[in-house]
């Protein structure tokens, strides 16, 4: 005997009904939660930038952000300016805008600029916007730049705080889906703290980046001018991704720092 649920017409109707119900349910959930999610993402970016310049609730061994309720206040107090530098394909600076100039033009906060989209612009031969956050803490000026790249499984990104000589003064890394215990450790303090004090330039002032190196002769990272930090064992590809994003993204800021030096 044939069941009514085995008929083709029933099957098709069921499938259509199911898609409509599930689709509506997901669309409803997504759109009603969107503002709350956006707010979380926004606060996280502020926490990330503050973390890179050393404003965090770190305890002895683990990385802890400043709490979300304190982040906006700390962000306003410590970030003195949010620059937006526009560069062309050859790396020449087209214009440099302050936060207010940029905001009146685009109605967008510079710290919310989508780095991935800007990278795609440059690849397509269009100008790229580079956000640079100028912060001050305990008498020192920090220049914080976002970086974005690929790990083993998915996206990795971070923020690097530098001084005016492009010496790293703090780093924050995060990832979407690196392997727990291996590549995911790029957001652990033992890895991020290693970057502190590393030079991005060679002694002669050429941009070299920082190499996440295996078989490093300097595992305790005493030598800060070798442009190298020690890699995480078992996470070669994630480490290479960190090397690559530092190199390709921070290189573009070099002309800005050159101008900064010359104008002083």
């Amino acid at each position: 005997m044939e069941n009514k649920t085995d008929k083709n017409s029933y099957t098709i109707l069921f499938a259509i009904g199911m898609v409509l119900v599930v689709g509506a349910l997901l669309a409803f959930t997504a759109s009603s939660l969107k503002p709350a999610i956006y707010e979380n993402v926004r606060l996280e970016k502020q926490q990330n930038i503050l973390y890179a310049m050393g404003i965090n609730d770190n305890d002895e061994s683990s990385a802890v952000f400043i709490s979300t309720d304190k982040a906006p206040e700390a962000f306003n107090a410590n970030i003195k300016e949010q620059m937006v530098i526009t560069v062309d394909v050859d790396g020449n600076i087209l214009k440099t805008q302050t936060r207010d100039e940029y905001f009146s033009e685009t109605k967008e906060e510079p710290y919310l600029i989508d780095v991935k989209k800007e990278q795609a612009n440059l690849k397509a031969g269009k100008p790229r916007k580079l956000p640079l956050f100028v912060g001050e803490r305990e008498g020192q000026t920090y220049y914080v730049a976002p970086i974005y790249g690929k790990g083993l499984w998915d996206a990795i990104w971070g923020y690097i705080a530098m001084d005016k000589d492009m010496v790293v003064r703090g780093a924050y890394f995060d990832h979407k889906g690196e392997t727990p215990g291996l590549g995911a450790n790029i957001k652990q303090r033992f890895f991020m703290d290693d970057f502190y004090g590393e030079h991005l330039l060679t002694e002669s002032g050429v941009f070299k980046g920082i190499n996440v190196a295996k078989g490093n002769a300097d595992p305790k990272n005493k030598d800060k001018t070798d442009n190298e930090v020690d890699a995480i064992a078992g996470a070669t590809i994630t480490g290479d991704g960190v090397t690559a994003m530092i190199k390709s993204d921070l290189k573009l800021y070099k002309p800005y720092f050159d101008n900064l030096k010359n104008s002083n």
């Binding site: 085995d6 199911m18 997901l26 939660l33 979380n40």
Partner: protein, 216 residues
């Protein structure tokens, strides 16, 4: 048993040992290899699967009489995927920190063969309450193995548990605890093949204690 009848409590207790989804049915091995390098990840995954399998089994069981059998696998997939995405979105809005740890697992939950396996083998033929118990039992059995494997891999591979150093300080020059005696972490434990070997040891121990489990 006051709360559950003998038959019902069997649904929960069986998958914990004598009918464990990983060690006896050999399902869900892929995620058991992928995420057990850390104890915390194992626990998070165990809880997520408990939730999805418990609810999913009930939903499928309620739909079992109206579901066209020709497309039942697709219907099951849609139910799991929708559940997981809703949970993910709600966590992103209200528990953002937790959602970041979980995001890795979203894809792994959808493709977890234990979930599809229980839908097919149990929920399609049983009522919602029994399906719920079966879902909870199987997820707990899965989680138990995950946590055991995660415990040994993190302890022997990184010398930590839930991120806390328990064997001393391994940084060269500042050695304390076991490391000062010459002990070294076994980095191989962090790689997936070792999860397979740990699962293998569990299977061995379990079957040598209960000969009835040994197939010819």
């Amino acid at each position: 048993m006051g709360l559950l009848s003998k038959k019902d409590s069997k649904l929960i207790l069986d998958p914990l040992a004598d009918n464990n989804p990983i060690t006896i049915q050999v399902l869900g091995i892929c995620s058991a290899l992928a995420i057990t390098a850390e104890l915390k990840a194992s626990i998070v995954m165990a809880i997520s699967v408990l939730f999805v399998l418990g609810i999913g089994n009930v939903v499928i069981s309620l739909m079992r009489n109206i579901m066209p059998s020709k497309i039942r696998i697709i219907v099951q997939l849609v139910v799991v995927a929708a559940l997981v995405i809703i949970v993910d979105q709600v966590l992103k809005a209200f528990a953002y920190e937790l959602s970041k740890t979980l995001s890795v697992f979203v894809g792994l939950i959808i493709t977890n063969c234990i979930i599809m396996g229980r839908f097919e083998a149990f929920a399609l033929a049983n009522g919602p309450w029994r399906s719920f118990l079966d879902g909870i039992g199987n997820a707990a059995g899965y989680g138990l193995i995950l946590i055991i494997v995660g415990f040994f891999r993190e302890l022997l591979g990184s010398g930590t548990l839930l991120g806390f150093p328990v064997l001393g300080n391994p940084i060269p020059g500042e050695l304390t605890g076991l490391y000062a005696l010459g002990y070294e972490n076994n980095g191989f434990m962090l790689l997936s093949p070792m999860a397979l070997i740990v699962v293998g040891i569990i299977i061995w121990v379990q079957r040598s204690r209960n000969k009835a489990l040994i197939e010819d």
